[in-house]
């Protein structure tokens, strides 16, 4: 940890505001993303992964509200950026790849034009020839022939559209790319090709990735470190390999048991019983305690705090570890 972190998230809190209710979707979380690092956020649907990603890019919109904490980008306070600074921050420093490539591209505009638009919006002095050359170069980078620059989104398969979204995210050489379920809608073989491609590009250009997926296997393969979220809180942060070999939090272990293996005996798996709590009716104490098979009396009274776990070199929030 000699290099300063690229992104520092401190005590970040995001609320969803209703007519007369406030639901806390993200409850005071802390983590860093280092330069060149792939950091993963894992957890079930609705645990706040995407809400965190949106807050990092300051894309939170009402009814969502960042109500506390700090996000720092190379030491700068992102939450107090001026409109002009924010415009430079988005896309040229932090870009996004969303889950559904089908909806991320405008169906009536040529894909090359959509990439050129992104470049021109941030580099207004670039010439037409320059942007076109850059767009062709980006196509090459993601493995699509530049002969297809003039095609429309519907002429590409789902996997190729996702590659185009990645090309667009790379266009301005950002320091961080937020990838929210980038391959979830794709077939396994296509998913494999795209993940390999992202890895190669990451090694070449040195950007960091915030990777969000519910596929823990894929995340362990791709990421350097992983944060496991449950009901708006980080319950464990650890190196990816430790999430597999030495998960410290019972929820991390339960998530790991939810994926049928490709080898070994065919035995019944139980996964995680029940479902995550509603944000408007959170349990007392540890939020996972009602579903936790290992809960002890203190778990239902007192919420545990993240503490260092020497076994993994990470942190976990569980009373069983103290």
């Amino acid at each position: 940890m000699l290099t300063p972190p690229l992104i520092e998230v401190r005590n970040l809190t995001v609320d969803y505001v209703g007519a007369n209710t406030v639901s806390r979707a993200v409850n005071g979380i802390d983590f860093d993303i280092r330069p060149g690092e792939a950091f993963g956020l894992a957890g079930e649907s609705g645990c706040g992964k995407s809400t965190v990603a949106f807050a990092l890019a300051r894309l939170t919109r009402l009814p969502g509200l960042v109500s506390g904490g700090a996000v720092r980008f190379l030491g700068e306070d992102v939450l107090s950026f001026s409109a002009e600074r924010l415009r430079r921050y988005r896309w040229s420093e932090v870009s996004f790849v969303f889950q559904s490539a089908m909806n991320a591209l405008n169906p009536v505009i040529k894909v090359s034009e959509q990439i050129e638009d992104a470049i021109l919006a941030h580099r207004p002095k670039a010439s037409r020839a320059e942007t076109l050359a850059r767009t062709a170069e980006l196509f090459e980078l993601v493995g699509i022939s530049p002969r297809r620059l003039d095609d429309y989104p519907h002429q590409f398969s789902g996997g190729m559209r996702q590659r185009i979204c990645i090309a667009m995210a790379l266009a301005l050489e950002p320091r961080l790319i937020i990838m929210d379920e980038p391959t979830t809608a794709l077939d396994v073989v296509v998913q494999r090709d795209i993940i390999e491609q992202i890895c190669a590009l990451k090694a070449r250009f040195g950007f960091s990735v915030l990777f969000i997926t519910h596929d823990l296997g894929l995340m362990i393969e791709f990421c350097d470190r992983i944060g496991v979220m449950y009901a708006g809180e980080l319950v464990e942060v650890a190196p990816a390999s430790a999430i597999l070999t030495a998960p410290q939090h019972p929820y991390t272990r339960a998530l790991g048991r939810s994926f049928p293996p490709l080898s070994g005996p065919r035995v019944r798996l139980e996964g995680i019983a029940g479902s995550p709590p509603s944000l408007s009716a959170l349990p007392e104490g540890c939020r996972f305690s009602p579903r936790c098979g290992e809960a002890i009396p203190i778990c239902v009274r007192l919420a545990p705090e993240l503490r260092p776990t020497p076994a993994t070199g990470g942190e976990a929030a569980c009373h069983l570890l103290s």
């Binding site: 079930e44 493995g143 393969e221």
Partner: protein, 328 residues
């Protein structure tokens, strides 16, 4: 979940079935897409057969043909030995009750304007007119209890939007069970659901398969859940069956290069991605009337001249395990 001994005879079978669709029309050239080529499958009571392959490989077309949505262009589908193409009247209604489908999207497959009670009541009234209103209600409650939605009377009053994805899929399963089917066709029943919910649905289907001795077809692109849920697995590519056998044999000793590619693509947390093996985007070929040879040849590392000329016949490669490849 160990493989049971094959004791019963198949109940629903596809024999050498072809299916064609015509693409294009008013403008442009018409092409005939061969969606299925010579598919033979057997569904046996108490067992599940998983059909795996990428999008566009013809998995869902198979399920729709078994549900008699399409007529085969060639070949025959038989239920208890009788050609389903010849069924009509009462026999056809019976067949439709016997063979039930569960779809991928529980948000789209349940009518959003009706209560769960109404959704479950409909098939009961259609297929079992002898039941009284009271019996229908008792039956609906029993079905919901069976799929784990308790207290059942509470759920009968709700509408689909009040339920989570997993709960909706349970309602879809209850609806399928309401008419006492013998065959379940499940088309990606868990791919829209959250990870923690998936296992619950698969375990429920597994319990039902055992308790009711159901024959199940499980369509998925996730070969790991295929192995988990189904005793047998068939791998499809561009409308052809390329490998078929006991699920463990398929994942432990895949013989066809496409099966090997599928298995290598499954996320494996024990690996670390290097980014070294980057390949260009490739799609499943459109298999038309003019296409020849093995459809996988353009992507296949083993392909030789014969692969581009002729599709090989199924070759036995183990106990009830076959693969179609010239280079086994």
């Amino acid at each position: 979940m160990s493989s049971a001994v094959m004791s019963e005879a198949p109940i629903l079978e596809m024999h050498d079935v072809d299916m064609r669709f015509t693409l294009g029309g008013l403008v442009g050239k018409r092409t005939t897409l061969r969606a299925l080529s010579g598919i033979s499958l057997k569904l046996t009571p108490g067992r599940a057969l998983a059909l795996v392959g990428e999008s566009g490989s013809g998995k869902s077309t198979c399920a729709r043909m078994l549900a008699r949505v399409y007529e085969p262009a060639a070949g025959e589908i038989s239920f208890r030995g009788a050609d389903i193409g010849r069924l009509s009247g009462k026999a056809l209604t019976d067949y439709r009750a016997q063979v039930q489908m569960i779809f991928q999207d529980p948000f789209g497959s349940l009518n959003p304007t009706q209560t769960i009670g109404y959704i479950l009541e409909r098939p009961l009234r259609l297929h079992r007119p002898e039941l009284s209103s009271k019996q229908v209600r008792t039956q609906s409650e029993a079905l919901l209890t069976q799929v784990g939605l308790v207290p059942a009377p509470e759920y009968l009053k709700r509408r689909p939007h009040e339920l989570s994805g997993g709960q909706r899929q349970r309602v879809a399963i209850a609806r399928a069970l309401s008419v006492n089917p013998t065959v379940l066709l499940a088309d990606e029943p868990t791919s829209m659901l959250d990870v923690s919910v998936r296992l619950g649905i698969l375990n429920l289907l597994d319990d039902l398969k055992r308790e009711k001795n159901l024959a199940a077809l499980y369509i998925t692109h996730d070969i790991a859940t295929a192995r988990y849920f189904a005793e047998d697995t068939a791998v499809m590519y561009a409308g052809h069956l390329v490998e078929q056998g006991p699920s463990e044999a398929i994942t432990d000793h895949p013989r066809h290069p496409y099966t090997q590619l599928l298995i290598a693509a499954v996320p494996n947390p024990k690996n670390k991605i290097s980014g070294a093996a980057v390949r260009r985007a490739t799609d499943i070929p459109l298999w038309t009337a003019e296409s020849r040879g093995c459809p996988f040849a353009p992507r296949c590392p083993r392909a030789t001249d014969i692969c581009r000329e002729m599709m090989p016949d199924p070759t036995p490669v183990g106990d009830s395990h076959m693969a179609r490849c010239h280079h086994l």
